[in-house]
Amino acid sequence: MLDSNNGYVVGVNGNMLTVEFTSSVTQNEVAYAKIGDLKLKAEVIRVRGNRADLQVFESTAGLKVGDEVEFTKSLLSVTLGPGLLKQVYDGLQNPLNKLSEKSGFFLQRGVYLDALDFDSEWLFTPMAAPGDHVSAGDPLGYVPEGIVEKHYIMVPFAFRGNWEVTYVAPAGTYKMKECMARLRNERGEEREVTMVQEWPVKVPVTCYKEKLMATKPLITQQRIIDTFFPVAQGGTFCTPGPFGAGKTVLQHSISRYADVDIVIIAACGERAGEVVEILREYPELVDPKTGRTLMDRSIIICNTSSMPVAAREASVYTAVTLAEYYRQMGLNVLLLADSTSRWAQALREMSGRLEEIPGEEAFPAYLESLIASFYERAGLVLLNDGKTKGSITIGGSVSPAGGNFEEPVTQATLKVVGAFLGLSRERSSARRFPAIHPLESWSHYKSVVNADEIKYAREILRRGQEVNQMMKVVGEEGTTLDDFVIYLKSEFLDFVYLQQNTFDEVDAASSAERQKYCFNKVVNVLKTRFKFENKEQARRFFQELRLTFTDLNYLPFKTEEFIKQEEKINAKIQEKAVHA
């Protein structure tokens, strides 16, 4: 009987197994390939006749034709429950810290640990009562989990239809797998609810009433983003750029300063060293707003470049499923994936082994729809109670081959996201960070500042660039003083507003209030008519003005020094301003 669920290996090609089976298998079902006592986790990705192709989440070295494969009948899933915050997982939700306690320096294959500590105890407060009618995703009670005061214990997402509460545990302390409630459906079927549930990662959680338009700005405290290319709570954005353009540094800044409840970082197929900085620093960095460390609001999914490729493919889904879980509690979640290109490459590797007909640059033909459905899992939703809202914002970095945006992953991503923050090699080489290109980027969302002023500022940037181009041909001598001043103004805007020093304690984060205030000051300069004798004088004036503004950027908002510096700025402007 047992054997009916088993098959055996008939082919091995890299991390792909072909397995012959006797009964039935399900697409995306988890299976284990066995080498002696070692069990290697795998997922069914194609079925043809009585043979299934599986992607193995580990090295396949040592597997033989004829080796046994155990099918589990369950889809690739994550474990949901209190205790997810602060965790560091691999792409399959293995806790990396516990793994290191068990296996030391290296990631030994075939070692899988519980994602949560099921022996941990939580203080439960009931919210539902016997007789209540509930459905999937509705809260039955809550436990406090660090910064999440009410981590809801919900009707499991997989419970279909309507249920009546027959029992809810009284307030008290419980272990995760104890019975917290019992529910009965119309057919009289009775089921227990614990604090833990499982959910298949590739299936979106849709236990909400409706998806709403994302309109509220998500403040990242990055000036060029919030002012010029804003992101919305529940929206999506991408940051493509060549290597070294600053994608990772930008994502780290956003993860630190973004105004959200929870941040999920998916380190997908890039450098392990970059995750280490997060792992070591976030537990130390205290958020002044909450008095908690950054780690307290973070979950890190870490499947870096040398970790198994198939698990990398899973990692973005693991991340977004955890995001959906917390959104279901009415929280605002930010998911940052670095880099979605590595996920796409994992798909490409597997597609190649499956010998599918390739699309452009050998990416699979379905790449575009997979990218679209991933970003589709973002969104602002109205929960079943009709009052509470929760959101997932997704920001994905893209690493285009050769830094060329005309490639499949960038193009497919641009079709679906609400904001495009394109990082340019030109700007990063000139060390103008964040290197988001101010003329090529765009956003469909609403800015924190007045739209007319942005239009004005962008116009100055555009004209400044034109003058700059022209000067390269005709030289400064051949440029009029008026044009030259426009160029200086655009450079001024670039240096004092678009550029921001991530590594300075004050300048690293600029609140919405501060942005409104300072942008106004900058636009005033742009709109002011100045009188200069010659270009040299104009250049010197703007150099000095720029310095007074940059100094301001390093001063805490509205402090005494800040106000003093403002006076200096005003005096400087008056030196050359022409009054109408």
Binding site: A61, A272, E349, S429
Partner: protein, 432 residues
């Protein structure tokens, strides 16, 4: 006794296929032909068909030749005896000395748990100002030298190796020219460094499959030494040859290429090697310096491009110099704040002026007027190139910083540098 198979049903490229049972993926076999015996590795299993890549190539193999499976994957000795020795990519001695077979370990082992990594913190001094001052090399860093063919990249690699304070040097040669191999060996010998060096050398005339093994052999040995508290520096030259060997096998196996013929997993293959760079808490470390030649000086070529996405920066070698633009050490900020208080300022200011100098050069070449400021920049640029950028310069970081101040003072007045006054006070050269 292991079973011997006599029926090779396909020979294509360097890959042969036999029908066999009970063969494990990645395992080794010995193929005996009229040419002698070669190792081969299982790269695909399909029903009874076993595909193997033959390390010495398939030339001269006939369908009736003997294939004997060894029942184990590729291994290398991790013995201390390796020091001072020279091997082929397949681990055979190249120096006419006996084979070493104790402490055998598997190559291509699992990756380090990211949760066990630590933030790099130790500078590696090289005596090269363009590295020490501007793009500091850090222990456990992985860094390629992007170079056009014909640049002195191997000399640079050898020089860094000689100067770096490490316990063990492991040199992996891939498609190395025989002369370059001899140069490496002689340089190491002259500096008395051979006895702390292990070499795995695949030369341009060796079978291409052996080239694929070189990084894994080097890194497996490096890992085992590092776990035994050794600071190991791994030099790999040239990783473009490694990538090209990958390409060749992929095409033989009829894989669909992704970009200019390279396989879709090139990124993962390179990353699996480079990510072996590590600092083991409580033990030693592995630092990787590699050469990546860029066909046509094109950074967007798939090999340098994929490499740049993986490594922690790159040194860009051009016209015999390490270019300050294009070069980057992503780890420099971990260490350059703790060297000398003026380090970052000198670095930033010198680069800023050098960029201005480049602009001035452009203006000059277009025949625009030169201002007195332009003249100062021109003077500065020349001094910078001669005293800092020239690869023959060999001075300590501190001397290089002092030199930086001297150049400032020769070209500009104090305020023109825009440097904070407390640093000027302390470091500006006193008139004698």
């Amino acid at each position: 006794m292991r079973k011997v198979y006599h029926k090779i049903i396909q020979i294509a490229g360097n890959v042969i296929t036999v029908e066999a049972d009970g063969v494990a993926y990645n395992d080794l076999a010995e193929v005996t032909s009229a040419r002698g015996t070669s190792l081969a590795q299982v790269i695909r299993l399909q029903d009874r068909k076993v595909s193997l890549q033959v390390f010495t190539g398939s030339r001269g193999i006939s369908t009736g030749d003997e294939v004997r499976f060894l029942g184990r994957p590729m291994r290398v000795s991790s013995s201390e005896e390796l020091l001072g020795r020279i091997f082929t990519g397949a681990g055979k001695p190249r120096d006419n000395r006996p084979e070493i077979t104790d402490k055998m370990i598997e190559i291509g082992g699992p990756s380090v748990n990211p949760a066990r990594r630590i933030i790099p913190r130790k500078m590696i001094r090289t005596g090269i100002p363009m590295i020490d001052v501007f793009n500091t090399l850090v222990e456990s860093q992985k860094l390629p030298i992007f170079s056009v063919a014909g640049e002195p990249y191997n000399e640079l690699l050898a020089r860094i190796a000689m100067q770096a304070e490490v316990d063990v040097i492991i040199l992996g040669g891939m498609g190395l020219k025989y002369d370059d191999y001899l140069t490496f060996r002689n340089t190491l010998d002259e500096h008395g460094a051979l006895s702390r060096t292990v070499m795995f050398i695949h030369t341009a005339s060796d079978p291409v499959v052996e080239c694929l093994l070189v990084p894994d052999m080097c890194l497996a040995v490096a890992e085992s030494y590092a776990l035994n508290n050794k600071r190991v520096l791994v030099l790999l030259s040239d990783m473009t040859n490694f990538a090209d060997a990958e390409k060749e096998i992929a095409i033989t196996m009829e894989q669909i290429p992704s970009n200019r013929g390279y396989p879709g997993d090139l990124y993962s293959q390179l990353a699996a090697r480079y990510e072996k760079a590590v600092d083991f808490e409580g033990a030693g470390s592995i630092t990787i310096l590699a050469v990546t030649t860029m066909p046509g000086d094109d950074v967007t070529h798939p090999v340098p491009d994929n490499t740049g996405y993986i490594t922690e920066g790159q040194f860009y070698l051009k016209n015999g110099r390490i270019e300050p633009f294009g070069s980057l050490s992503r780890l420099k900020q971990q260490v350059n704040g703790k060297t000398r208080e003026d380090h970052r300022t000198v670095m930033d200011t010198m680069i800023r002026f050098y960029a201005d100098y480049k602009e001035t050069l452009e203006k000059q070449s277009m025949g625009f007027q030169m201002s007195s400021w332009d003249e100062k920049l021109l003077k500065y640029g020349k001094l910078f190139e001669k005293n800092m950028m020239d690869l023959s310069v060999n001075i300590s970081l501190e001397d290089a910083l002092d030199l930086g101040w001297k150049i400032f003072a020769e070209c500009f007045d104090k305020t023109e540098t825009g440097i904070k006054s407390d640093l000027i006070e302390k470091f500006w050269p006193k008139k004698s």
